[in-house]
Amino acid sequence: MDFSAILSDALRSGIGPIAAVYALAAMGLNLHFGYTGLLNFGQVGFMLVGGYGLAITVSTYDGPMWLGVLGGVACAIVLALLLGLPTLRLRADYLAITTIAAGETLRLFYRSSWAEPVTGGVFGLQRFANDFYALSPIEPGTYGVWLVRFGARDLWVMIVGWALVVVAGSLLALLIHSPWGRVIRSIRDDEVAARSLGKNVYAYKMQSLVLGGVIGAVAGMMQAIQVQSVNPDNYDPAVTFFLYTLLVLGGAGRILGPVVGSVLFWFVLSFIDSALRQAIDAEFVSPDLISTSEVGAVRFALVGVALILLVAFRPQGILGSRKEMLLSGR
């Protein structure tokens, strides 16, 4: 067992570009779920329209990248409006089912043979982020301290990704502590009271849905840029579930909750993965029990266990306050 390799994998994953992408997507979800009390289970749908908005503009229509970014954001706004119109007046569980259905519907449409001329169907689209990498000021090579090393490209995505996390986090912090944020939180805590004070609850919920969706779309773009490809099967509903896991882990309704959650989530996931593989190679764990190809599934099963235990025993997560997170069945 090579412990430094395990730790290196885990650390790289914990601060890497994927952790930044998930932190960003979870920030949008945090605005929905943690602050407004909206059960959005289709955050992956916003990531999908963001990623595809960029990829289609650049790859299919040869457009400039900035237009692709605008396109992705516009798609997210339209999606939020379309989703919000029928469901925001309804109970939270309707929104949950509708959003997950919408996310999956989008995925099915984007991967269908019907849409293939535009979206690339099951093959997706590749190589649309060259402009982004051309902007990189980092010389090719690998950089790192101690056990952690990154290539120049990953480092560039990471810097931009975490910078976006800081920007989104600051923006959200300002918003949440403004009068707007107080209304949003009062809707989460007692919608009827907010309504009786003359607040247009529906409009506030819609604004929250749009803003969180746009943040999710930006996360989707960063993810698409990082792997230089969009593929419909990367936008599985399970992505939203992971976002919820890390949000609950870090603490919903806290600005830093998604960040702490994402870093820990990817650290632990990668740690388990790497440790299990090493243990199988070193024959500490019999390959009959778990083979190397099953490690991926085992770690996701453990995510499920973690989610159950967290919600049962520490629903406020690491940073949250228990009093604030006792969500009722609205």
Binding site: L39, L85, P86, T87, R89, L90, R91, A92, D93, Y94, A96, I97, T98, I100, A101, A102, E104, T105, L108, F109, R111, S112, S113, W114, P237, A238, F241, Y244, T245, V248, I290, E294, A297, V298, F300, A301, V303, G304, V305, A306, L307, I308, L310, V311, A312, P315, L326, L327, S328, G329, R330
Partner: protein
């Protein structure tokens, strides 16, 4: 009320026919071969068959929602577990190699026990702790992730078929056809659905289930043991999901994520029919099954589930309480 019902029926009709007009407008050639009527009849038969299977799996989901207001995201995994458990007994190299019929019975029993086990092991303790509904809802997602990946480890990613009734020739129904296997599955499903209806209407426990769904506090006050009713509902739901899984695996194929694929259609069905109502779930699922299959008349097969989910979203626009749901304020 009546106008709204007509409106929804009208909307459903428009949704089924609009794609045809759309396809014509696009100048797409309808593929040659059997006549349109024949293909439509075939799609209708397939749709009813698909719909009754969804109905079997979704009745339990709807009853769970009706009694404890929990949306069980792990319900799809119960379906998969039923199908894969029967596969293990029936066709797996490591299994005992039973005939499919006893294997299916065993899977139903296993599903019922699993449903009972999660109720006793997870939901009852959580309710006793006073965990909020939304938190419980997130727990079902954890359970879903756990069960799905355990199935993945045990079963693997390879799709497989049961040992029996694999290849059959079709019997003609007019210009369309159905295999004896599919016909049996459809008829059995209808019988099971009628059985559930009889159970809910005629038996003591069925009456108790309906009472708890209608008003939990009142039911409790009039001496119904709500915990027992909820346990019964979970076991019933687990058993039915497993049966639906075996049926779905039989007419299609057994895969590790089949239940999750079906879950969204189940949601669509129960919302369409009205959350919490068993008969609504049956009606809604039937509509979803038919829409999914009929859509293939005009659109690529890989979009058939997408249309079913779109119908769900559109119906919510007009009639949020579902086709058969009571008109109560849900917002």
């Amino acid at each position: 009320m009546r106008y709204q019902r007509m409106l929804v029926t009208g909307l459903a009709l428009v949704l089924v026919t609009a794609p045809a007009i759309f396809a014509r407008a696009q100048g797409e050639e309808v593929p040659r071969g059997p006549t349109f009527a024949a293909r439509a009849l075939q799609a209708l038969i397939d749709g009813i068959q698909f719909g009754v299977i969804i109905a079997i799996t979704s009745v339990g989901l709807s009853l769970i929602f009706g009694t404890i207001h929990l949306i069980n995201f792990a319900h799809g995994e119960f379906v998969t577990i039923g199908a894969t458990f029967a596969f293990f007994l029936n066709a797996s190299a490591a299994g005992p190699g039973w005939h499919l019929i006893p294997a299916a019975f065993a899977a139903v029993v296993f599903g019922a026990l699993l449903g009972g086990a999660v109720e006793r092991g997870i939901w009852r303790p959580l309710r006793a702790r006073g965990t909020g509904l939304i938190n419980m809802f997130i727990v079902t997602i954890g359970l879903s992730l756990l069960l799905r990946h355990v199935v993945l480890v045990l079963y693997g990613t390879r799709p497989a078929s049961y040992a029996q009734y694999d290849i059959q020739s079709t019997i003609g129904i007019g210009p369309a056809g159905i295999t004896p296997r599919d016909l049996t599955v459809t008829l059995l499903s209808v019988l099971v659905l009628l059985g559930i209806a009889a159970l809910l209407q005629k038996t003591r426990i069925g009456t108790a289930v309906r009472a708890v769904s209608a008003n939990r506090d009142l039911a409790e006050a009039s001496g119904i043991d709500v915990q027992r009713v909820v346990l019964f509902v979970w076991m019933l739901a687990g058993g039915l999901a497993a049966l639906g899984g075996v049926f779905f695996g039989l007419v299609e194929i057994v895969t590790w994520d089949m239940g999750f694929k079906l879950l969204l259609l189940m949601f669509a069905g129960i919302i369409l029919g009205g959350l919490g109502s068993a008969y609504g779930a049956m009606a809604g699922s039937l509509v979803i099954g038919v829409v999914a299959q009929m859509s293939t008349l005009w659109f690529p097969v890989d979009l058939q589930y997408a249309w079913a989910l779109l119908v769900l979203i559109l119906v919510l626009l007009v009639r949020p309480q579902g086709i058969l749901g009571r008109a109560e304020r849900v917002g």
